[in-house]
Each structure stands twice: as C-alpha cells, then as structure tokens.
Symmetry: C2
Subunit: 521 residues, 2 copies
C-alpha cells in the first residue's frame, strides 16, 4: 500500500511538472500555431495522468453498469431470432449468386469524408492515439466502394452482413439503435440499364416474403428525375442535393413543414417549393411515368426524361420478374444519402404488425439505389465502377420478432442438446465424464451437470426446461449388468440398452425424433 502511495505522489509530481511546462509555454515570447499544438499536447498528457490518478484512487466501482447509449446486448433467445433471420437472408443472397466479403469496422476518416451529406455529423470518430485518424463505418456501401477502388475490381456481386454505427437519437423499442446490422446486396459492374437494378428489387421481395412479416410496398424513384424536377421547378443546380435531403423528410413530416424548411433553410423560392409540392404528391405505375413524359415542364428537361425512361424500363423488368404488383413509383421518395445517382428505392411495411393484443408500426425496412460515381471518388484517375444495391434493415425485423416472443406468440430454443447424461446415485461423475466424452466424440450434442453429485430431480428438470429430448441415466446395478437406461423426457419412458451400443441407439432415436419434428412442422 505504501508503494501505491509512492506511485501516486510520483504521478502527482509529474503532473505538476507538466503544468509548469504548460505555463512557461503559454508565457513564451511568441505563440505560433506550432506552440499552440505543443500546449495541446502537454495538456493532453496532463489530463491523461490526472485520469490515471483518479482511476488508481477509485476503489470499488461507482459507475452505472450499462451498455453504451443506443446499443444493447443480445441474450441467447434474441441471438436465436437474429441468427434465424440472418440465415434466411443469406439464403436469398446466395440464391442470387452473391459472394461474401468483409471489411474492418473502422476506416480511415478520410474514406468517409464527404460521402453522407448532412448525416456526416452522425459518424463515430476514434480518439487520436497517435497514428491514423479513424472512424467507425457508417454503412457498408462506402467501404464496398473503397474495397472495389483499392483492389481495382470492376465486377462483383457481393453480400455483406455486418454492424454499422450512427450517433443518431436512438428509438430502441422501434428497433433504431446506434449499433445495428445492415444486410447489403450490391452488384458492381458496367451492364445494361436496369437489369441489375431490377434484380435488387427481386431480392428484396424474396427476403420480405421469406421473413413473412406482413404486406409491403416497394417505392421507387430516380435521382435524375428528382434533379430534372427541381430544375423544371426553378431550383438552382447547386441546391439540388440540399432540396433533395428536405424532400426525403416527407416520410416523417407533412408537406407544410418540408415546404417551410425548403424556403427558410435551403433557400428555395416559395414558387419553386409549391411547384415541387405538386409533383411530390404523385405516385403510380407505368401510366404515371408515361403521363409525366408528356408533362409540359418535365418533358423539356433532359434529366427528368432520362429518369422517367429509366423508371419505365425498370417497371417493365419488374413485371417480367413477377413483382410489379409490389412496386409503387413515388415522386416523394428521395433517400437522404448524397451518393445515389440513378434509381432509388425503399421497402415499407403497409400494415402494423400484431403482437399479442397490440399493433406495432414498422415502416421502412429496406432501401437502396444506384451509385455510379462513388467508386470513382476513391480512384486516383476517377475511374468509375457503376454500382447498384440494397440494404435490409433487420433490426426492425428483430424488434418485431422479439416483441412476438415476449407476447408468447412465438417460441425459440437457445441450445440444441439432444442428450443429457445423468446419474441417479452419488459418485458417478467419473462415469458421466467418460460417457460424455464418448458421445461428443461420436458427434452427439450432449450435456451433463457440472456438480459432482447432482440431484436426479434437478437433472431431469434441466432437461425439461431446455427441451432436451433424451437422458442417459447411469446407475450401479445397470452398469454391472453392462446396460444403461435411456429416458425419453417427454413420455418419461425408460429403456435399458446395452452399454456397448449406446451411441448407435442414441443416434437412431435422435434421427427418429428429428424426423418427427420436421414431419409435423
């Protein structure tokens, strides 16, 4: 303890020295930027030492035990749901031939700079601990573009399932977190118009159908059409992106508020805003695209015509894919991110989901679009790789399923042990260990109590609580006769089988039980 005191005093002396250094630096004859930097360095050192002093002084822990704001743990039941949902999504991605890649959780800060528009303020930065300046990834799209440019890859169909990070205001009951999963499917490469774009929409329908979480609509729009529309309404070109971000708020705010923001914050004239207001209330199908192609203002705007022709072609391919009834061409869809250049889309659940006796509104569940210029931003010669992709926001799906679990509407099993090795008498730990080893070596999912002399009742209760179907019950008299008992937990029936054929007998029974389950589900 006296040693600790010495260390503390020493640290304190160092802090004092540093503080003096800072003071003399401050009063030095000329303060340049570089000496300011020096000050900052010394101050940091001082603060770090102070923090250390506090820690050593701390004694028992005093902070509230929690996960960071906007994040959560997944318990075994939640993981069971999560793994099941992700597995279904992966199955769809693989059915379309997507390969899997992964990238680091952080990127050089410069990689993320200038890619997300207004949302950039939500990026998590790492502390400068010497070396590179890093930020946590904000999505999986920018890392993909960096990956393609860095490796000079011009063709790739990939999926990527990983967590991304946004310092947003969390709304955790509705599945909005600061750490959350994205499931991305993207097609990179120069191909014919709308062919990969339409496949992305097909992928979304397959995922939403397999997740079986209710009716949905796939809203589509086109950035070229939005640009053309802004142009036709008299918005100057340098305000297109800002106006677009404002239109994006239409899914949460009424037109009046959006109009006010356009005029007061984005510098759009009231006349232009009103004209935009007329367009963004339109939605429909091919007939709307055709009508707009004849629109007096839009038909004279190259960008708008390009966008409308694109939408028409996309709708045609969607019809061939058999998903046209799920698509809605919606001029109010804008998407927040800066990097989209062509078609954009968003999947929205159209009905609240029933959970127990309550209803929960989920809203947007997937989104994406075409971004033809993003890879080029990373290439020294600005070589472009056209890309289109979709991102499924599974946290909302998890939330719904977890609420269903809590309401007793669904049940999950968190381990899939088939056999529990139990003993009715004392001093059977050694025998149990040997049997467990034998079953594990045969690939049988097996558990036992970690107690030397567990009670029979507790062992059987564990089986019932965890849905373990079979127990091997060891006993002195049986072992002497060269047999063991197999107990069916549900029926409570016990059968003696020869010790030598235990593995074979268990395998037969497990296989029969599995067939039973698959047959009835």
């Amino acid at each position: 303890m006296s040693l600790k005191l010495v260390t503390l005093l020493k640290s304190h002396a160092t802090v004092m020295n540093l503080r003096n250094n800072v003071l003399s630096n401050c009063f030095a004859k000329s303060i340049t930027t570089s000496s300011c930097h020096k000050i900052q360095e010394e101050v940091s050192k001082l603060l770090a030492l102070k923090a250390q002093l506090n820690t050593e002084d701390a004694g028992p822990q005093k902070f509230t035990l929690k996960t960071p704001k906007g994040t959560r743990d997944y318990n075994p039941q939640q993981m069971s749901i999560r793994n099941d949902v992700l597995q279904k999504i992966i199955t769809v991605f693989k059915r379309h031939g997507a390969e899997c890649i992964d990238t680091p959780v952080f990127e050089l800060k410069e990689v993320l700079t200038g890619k997300y528009g207004e949302d950039s303020k939500l990026i998590y930065d790492l502390k400068d601990q010497g070396g590179e300046i890093l930020s946590l990834r904000y999505d999986l799209t920018v890392p993909l573009a960096r990956y393609l440019a860095m490796n000079k890859i011009t063709n790739l169909k990939r999926y990527h399932i990983a967590k991304v990070y946004r310092r947003d205001n969390p709304a955790m009951t509705r599945g909005r977190y600061r750490e959350f999963y994205q499931c991305d499917f993207d097609i990179a490469g120069a191909y014919d118009p709308m062919v990969p774009d339409a496949e992305c929409l097909k992928v979304v329908t397959e995922i939403l159908d397999t997740l079986n979480i209710g009716q949905y609509v796939l809203k589509i729009n086109h950035r070229r059409l939005l640009d053309g529309m802004f142009e036709a309404c008299g918005v100057p070109a340098d305000k297109f992106r800002a106006t677009c971000s404002t239109v994006d708020k239409l899914d949460k705010s009424p037109w009046d508020e959006v109009r006010t923001e356009m005029i007061n914050e984005k510098g759009v004239t009231p006349e232009a805003a009103d004209k935009i207001g007329e367009y963004v209330r339109l939605n429909g199908g091919t007939e709307l695209a055709e009508k707009l192609l004849k629109d007096e203002k839009l038909s004279k705007t190259k960008a708008a015509v390009e966008g409308l022709e694109g939408i028409k072609l996309l709708l045609e391919y969607c019809a061939l894919f058999g998903i046209k009834d799920k698509i809605l061409f919606d001029l109010s869809l804008a998407r927040g991110l800066d990097y989209y250049t062509g078609v954009i889309y968003e999947a929205v659940l159209t009905q609240p989901i029933k959970i127990g006796n309550e209803e929960q509104t989920v809203g947007s569940i997937a989104g994406g679009g075409r971004y033809d210029n993003l890879v080029g931003m990373f290439d020294s010669k600005h070589k472009q790789v056209p890309c289109v992709g979709v991102s499924v926001g599974v946290e909302r799906v998890f939330s719904v399923l977890e609420a269903k679990l809590a309401a007793g509407d669904i049940a999950v099993r968190t381990s899939d042990i088939d056999v529990y090795v139990a003993s009715a008498q004392k001093n059977f730990l050694e025998e149990r260990i040997k049997v467990c080893a034998e079953l594990w070596n045969a690939g049988i999912k097996t558990e036992q109590s970690y107690k030397k002399n567990p009670k029979m009742l507790n062992q059987l209760q564990h089986c019932e609580e965890n849905g373990i179907p079979l127990a091997v019950v060891l006993g002195q008299s049986e072992l002497e006769r060269g047999v063991v008992k197999i107990r069916n937990i549900v029926s409570r029936q016990e059968d003696e089988v020869p010790r030598d054929s235990l593995v074979q007998e268990l395998k037969t029974r497990i296989s029969a039980l599995n067939k039973e389950i698959n047959g009835t589900s």
Copy 2:
C-alpha cells in the same frame, strides 16, 4: 463555385478568430487548470476547422487508399475459408450445449479500466464527441462479465464469436492483426472444482482436431501455484502480478532476458529470480504435480498446494475425457491478463505447417483459464460468479489456410450457384428474366448475365470459371417447340426438356450432382 469560396473565406475568418482567442487566453493574468482546459478546447476547435478547410480545399482525393493499420478486408475466397472455420467451431460449441450471446463492439471505457494490466495501453478509445466515453472491446471475456453482472445471471454456458481490437504491433503474415476474431466458450456458475475447467480443455481438443491443422499440446498451469511459487521464492505479494506478466514472456524470450526484466523493472531480487528460474523450467504430468507437493518450499505454501491439488484433479478428469496425452503441466505458462484466478491454459501447435514447399510456425492458437473475481468487480455488492473459459484465436488458422490456398494446396468455391440461364441468340433478356424468376421462386440458386445480348462463349466461360454445373440454354426454335436445353457444363452434354417441367428436371439433376459430390468427398 463562388459560394464555396465564400464559405472557405468565412471558415478562415473563424479560424483566425479562434486563434486570437487562444492567444489572449494564453496571456491572461493567471492560468489555472480550468483555463488550460479552455485553451485545449479552443485549440481543438481550431484544428477541427483547419481540417475542414483542408478537406473542402482538397479537390481530388490525395490520401493513400488502404485499410487502417493492422486490419484487412476479406475477399470472397478468404470469407469462404473464414465461414467454414467458424462453422466448424460453432458445431463444437453447440455440441457442448453452449448458447450464443452478443455484446456491442464498444463498452463504457470504465468497464475495461483495470482489467488488463500492462495491456491496457493497447485499448482503442473513441473520441469524446459529447456523451459517454467509450472504448472498443479488447476481448470477449470482460464484456461477458459485465453482461452477467448487469443482468444478475449466475449460470450460463455461452459462446461468442466476434471481433476484438488491440493497438498492438501487427504481424499480419503470421495472422496477428489489430482487428481480429475471437471464438470464446465460457462456463459461468458455482460448480464442483475442475469439472467445467476440464470440459473447456475437451472443447479445445475437439476444435483443433476438427480444424485438422497439425499436432498440438495443451499447456496447463494454475495461478494459485504461480502465486505460491512467487511467495516461496521470496517475492513480496504486491509484486506477484507484475512478476507473473514477466514470466508470461518466456514463450517469446529466453530466461536470461526475463530474469533481467524481473530484477531491473519489477524489483525482484536476483536470489528470488534465480529460484523462480528453477521452477519455471519444469513441465510434465501428474507425477510432476505429486513431486512438487513434496517440494520443501512449495509444500509449506498454502497457495501452491491449492494450485497443485487443482492441477492433479484436472489431469484426472482429462484422463477420463481421453485427452490426457495432449496435456502438459508447464510451470512457465503464466498468461498475461490480470483477471485469471485459477487454472490457466494455452494450446500450442508443436509442428510448423507445410504450405506448398515452405513451413510456417503458428505457435499459440487458443488460451484461457478461470476468472472467479471478474464478475464481482462489476457488482455493487461484489457478488461473485465463478467463470472459466477458453478463447480460440482463429486468425492464425485463417492465415495458414489462406497460405495453403495461395500455394494451391486447397481450393474454395465462393458462390454455390447451380444453374446459369443463358441464351444463344440476341433479344432473349426478357425470356431469361422470366426463367430466372421461376427458378428463384422454386429455391434454385440461379444466375444470368446482366447484359442484354451477352455472347454464348462468355456465358459458358462464366459457368466454367465459377464452377456452375448446369446451364439452361434458351433458343427461339426450342421455345416454339415448348422445350429448353439443359447443358452439363463439365460433360458439355445438352438435353432438351419440356419447358413446363424445367424446375422439376433441374431439381432432380442438382440433387444427383450433390449426391455425387458428397459421395466422393
């Protein structure tokens, strides 16, 4: 553009103002710690604005395109290897009834403070952006302990596979990264001595056997024995942990260097160091534990006797599990982390691995131990939950398998598409789209070209390069006759089948092909 210039000038003016603020602050009459803090704040703002100026000024990107130091992307082949390895490990974990949990990638910094001893300097901190002070997780053990304490869980057998972060010196060719996977299996709960501990060792053997990466030894030791040994050698109690960290370096440094560090940096006397030196060269089995129980010095030290009795019991259970030939009781094993309290272990590959014509040494591949006091550190009433666990360091396994792949010793497939929908003639995109939709809806893994009129040769080449076994070839004359051709890519044989029975016919062929593959592998 003129607008941008204005913004730049404005920003510059703000920077100048801030700089002046800093200067006047520095020359203020009395500089207290709080004004130092103020200076630091202003300097940070200034630097942030400067950085912004630089960014806006940047034009085309100038930074080197790379992943952060010590990290890497995984390409599809690497992902294929990684997913295969992780799946094998999960199978073992599940065979032992482990449930799965997940925790956030970052924790409150305070959660990690004081848990890792000397290694704490390697923790990645997040920038203070207002709100909580966060750090990236350093391992999966401390988050587990936080999870158990926070949720008042006293029993759990869980696995957790996730990335952890250490600002270490990377040695990437040998699989040492700053971002890397850990595969953890832990048993929490108050049970009888060494029963769960022995199962952890059994789990490690099953994993290393299934990964099939060569011969290995599982070194075991006991923290109580180490403490008792230090005591018996005359090391004061407050130097046990520091001495232990030094012993831990024996796997990389010779005894002479370790001895010097003990004496010069840890304040151990030369006499004590020499006595330690005699013990740490010992290794063996049960007979060594028994011999040491009779050792003059150790037998008088309570901690040493406890440790040795523990080792004896563990070796007994290992014998019953049938893994004793893989265990080595080794007194030089110390493990770096502070939180271990009982048995510790480490799996080491004993032979270099042959890759092509070269050999690669892998070394340590898994490690763990008992940590009975860690959960209590998070509990306000210091309520303990005894835990034991093991962590498998799979990056080294990935490295070995990737090197084998590069040397041509193994091959992997990155997508598992079964059917490619091709057309021999032009203007068949629409027909291809319809067939693809039909096959996807039937659950068949299908791909097509995203070009309107791809060349037949290119389509078949894609199948060959990607190991796609079957192609559906669409043609005008066949469609008019109500048939399509199925081509076997390897044999090049083509058969006509009725268009109506295409799905059924493909399913039959895919199932036959899969049986063929599984039969021969």
